[in-house]
Symmetry: C2
Subunit: 277 residues, 2 copies
Amino acid sequence: MLGIIAGGGDLPRAVAQAARDGGRAVFVVCLTGSVTEDWAADFPHAWCGIGEPGRVVKALSGAGAADVLLAGKVDRPKFSELKLDARGVLLLPKVIAAARQGDDALLRFLAGFFRDAGFRPVGVAQAAPGLVCGEGPVGRLQPDENHRRDIARAFAIVKALGALDVGQAAAVCEGLALAVEAAEGTDAMIARIGTLREALRGTAQKKRGVLVKALKPTQDALTDMPVVGVSTVRGAAAVHLAGIAVQAGGALILDRAGVAAEADRLGLFVTGVALGG
Amino acid sequence: MLGIIAGGGDLPRAVAQAARDGGRAVFVVCLTGSVTEDWAADFPHAWCGIGEPGRVVKALSGAGAADVLLAGKVDRPKFSELKLDARGVLLLPKVIAAARQGDDALLRFLAGFFRDAGFRPVGVAQAAPGLVCGEGPVGRLQPDENHRRDIARAFAIVKALGALDVGQAAAVCEGLALAVEAAEGTDAMIARIGTLREALRGTAQKKRGVLVKALKPTQDALTDMPVVGVSTVRGAAAVHLAGIAVQAGGALILDRAGVAAEADRLGLFVTGVALGG
């Protein structure tokens, strides 16, 4: 039995479906406030608050989950508004200390907590390997020589930022770093490319520049991989980027057929690139 | 005689005034399209296009300038709209190649061009040393222990980004990287902090987070240093940051008395921090 602790976004559902399609029994713990749709109605599930680790452990144990996977976005709550169970009260100071060191430190701390509680923490690549992007184009189009240069530069930027636990995405156009992701998230980062002067970026007449997403060097297999979905392709097309490249083996494609079709329709490439190291 | 090739923003005027106040004769070449105010009317000056290096050299020689300083923002023009003189035509392919490698490479190329034309390229720190920020607070307030931690993390981020010629600024709040500067510039970077969820940043009730600006490791003394002015203080206050830290000896404060007064009035610290290396 795979227990999925689900935050927001499309990833938890995609993982749950892929794991079930692969023949595994799945139990979902939906985090209140983070999960905004009732997709888990389709699975055995429970709702718990982020300040209720005691209830989460009880729900997972009751369901017979051996493996536990954390997936999806979780807002850093205002601690003043947090509902805490007994275990949450004990855990809170350590959570705050871990959160201060960044998202990855927080996720590592939580994985350790579930390990200590008798579960085996697993990552998406283990639970749903079909979601991981391999090498090569996802749709029909491929990057040209200029795009490849921009992709290499953008990967260098993302790796430098990722080593400092800042972000997972960057956009580069003919050598110029258009945008770099921090707390605003990839969608907001992509959208602001449209506010840059036209000389710096692509236009409706001519697509220019690439978006890159890659695993942070500090990330291990348990933490969320960067994700590309249909909405990422639409966002990149809206600001006239020429394409999207992700680290092969280090990023997830949600709805691969849909991503390929939308990329072809909008005239963008989406591709997996093997990175040394 | 100091020749100042002036782009946009407040820096060129501040340098011209500081140099003149220091007893130097100054001649200003205003770049058409980049200089939007007629402040240079107060100095001996000429107007030239960015595609007219021949005219720029002639104006500087005619004025008897020995030293040449490049200051201010210059938009990357659409090459299709560029007015070129004979020397500009010869130079253009090299300029494009340099610009591909980033702003610093472009500035180094231009400095080399003026050196070859018989001038001595100088930086702001040389021409107007009074503008360079030293160590310690500019206004009344000082960072506390938490701020100092955020400042150290933000400097680490800026240095990593700077090594890749991405940007000069970052904002961090209690360990979380709120925003990182790329092509949008510091003002736009600061402004978007206000769009982040309140749990991540400061509010009207409680200021949180720091803005940091530092020299890129790839920058030499000739290229523009990061600048903090009254408008930077206002922008940081508008998104409820607790303060601004710059690299001592590696950033400029424009209108130091005005920056100190505005920081005190709005309740922010502005400080110069010595960085090792």
